[in-house]
Amino acid sequence: MEAVLNARTDASLVEMIEERQQGALAEVYRRHGGPVFGLAKRLLRDPDLAQEIVQEVMLRLWNNPEKFDADRGSLRSYLLSHTHGRSVDLIRSESARRIREERDARLAVEAGLSLEEEVWEMALADHVKSALAQLGDGERRAIELAYFGGYTYREVAELLDTPEGTIKSRIRSGLQRLNGLLAKSGLAPVG
């Protein structure tokens, strides 16, 4: 079934998108739309806003497929990075200040759930949970607040009352350690 779209590589689908073949974008959406939507929803806590982000990210790929460079990573990481970036932009933007305030308020009152606990409730694969658990508390908290909380490293430093340089180092070293741990599971690129 080589000719069927879902047998094609991501890179080949992007080439088809460059040729303006809608079916290729539909296949990209089928493969990656779930995680993209899940991440946006997790960050924004608003399915409607998350839907807008997903739509924007997919249309960006449709309009600018040449910006995806397979040598720089997988299509999924590319899409998720843009999803995360756009979601964070929305969270940080002045127009979204109210959204963030409501979001932070919900964070505080939702049955006492901390961000860390919430991350653990996500449907992460067991090996990802296991890898996160092997990080030091400082590294894990910094990554969780930055990635799932949408905070800048400076904000994380303030929240954790820790020097900015330490937070920068913890995020970087935490990601490197996660890469090594996940590589043992055959998931992450080996450095």
Binding site: M1, Q22, R30, G38, S74, L80, L175, N179, P189
Partner: protein, 262 residues
């Protein structure tokens, strides 16, 4: 911003956790620095793994995207546009909304059934079976179609705008299967990600018709393209179970993957 400063910020940059005034210089440096580009690539891959928490892409979002493509007059939405390669990319001509009927219904079924493997409420063991009839139909079809022709027939079905594509899924296993069903009830297991079974086990396909679960065929332990035939009237869904070799008349097992109309 020099190399060492950028390196220090690469992790935060990968997580979109740098300030806007830092983002530009970091990006420019990464564009010119192979070492930093490689480290950033690895950080982004790790971040992507942290994100993957949803199996299915919501169908309504695709509908919105497709509407945008149409509104913007994309070439594929214009009747005068020329298909790049009709035969090998036959699946592309399937109406896009049709492509997502399956995942949408799966998602709805998952929500309805609280995240467990779907169609729990339609216990296979309580349903009647028409195994012999279905097996005979499968046998006839199998004999009629040589292996290459079978793939070709499935391919044509996938490209048929009248055909219905559904994706059977499971939240627990992550497996899925694509079935294409023609209006006359002829169908094909076209693709799947089911794990191969031992020789003494087999996958079995079930059709849910008017609330009853009817065997639609024995798929074998490691199915390729498999044809089947069902009565399309009252069709409500499909399920695939794992059974002892030879199959069963009514299953006691929960589906490996399933799809139920919303």
């Amino acid at each position: 911003m020099d190399h060492s400063e950028v390196v220090e910020l690469l992790g935060a940059y990968a997580l979109n956790a740098v300030d806007s005034d830092e983002s530009g210089p970091i990006g420019a440096h990464v564009d010119a620095c192979v070492e930093c580009a490689e480290e950033l690539r690895q950080h982004l891959q790790v971040a992507a793994l942290l994100s993957a928490s949803e199996l299915f892409a919501p169908a309504p979002i695709w509908d919105s995207i497709a509407d945008e493509l149409t509104d913007n007059g994309s070439p594929t939405s214009q009747p005068t546009s020329e298909p790049a390669s009709p035969a090998p990319t036959g699946a592309e001509v399937i109406p896009l909304r049709t492509r997502w009927l399956g995942p949408l219904a799966v998602a709805a079924a998952f929500a309805l059934l609280a995240g467990a493997v779907v169609v729990q409420s339609v216990r296979l063991s309580t349903a009647t079976s028409d195994l012999n009839t279905a097996q005979a139909a499968v046998s006839d079809l199998t004999e009629a179609l040589a292996e290459p022709a079978l793939a070709s027939a499935a391919q044509q079905a996938l490209a048929d705008p009248q055909a219905r594509q559904v994706m059977l899924g499971s939240q627990s296993s992550g497996s899925n299967a694509i079935i294409v069903l023609m209006p006359d009830g002829t169908g094909y297991l076209a693709e799947h990600s089911l794990q191969p079974l031992p020789a003494d086990r087999t996958y079995q396909l079930w059709a849910i018709i008017d609330g009853k679960v009817i065997s639609a065929g024995i798929l074998g332990p490691n199915p390729g393209v498999v044809p089947f035939h069902i009565d399309p009237e009252g069709f409500e869904g499909f399920a695939i179970t794992e059974e002892v070799v030879g199959g069963v008349e009514s299953s006691q097992n929960d589906p490996v993957v399933a799809w139920v109309a919303a």
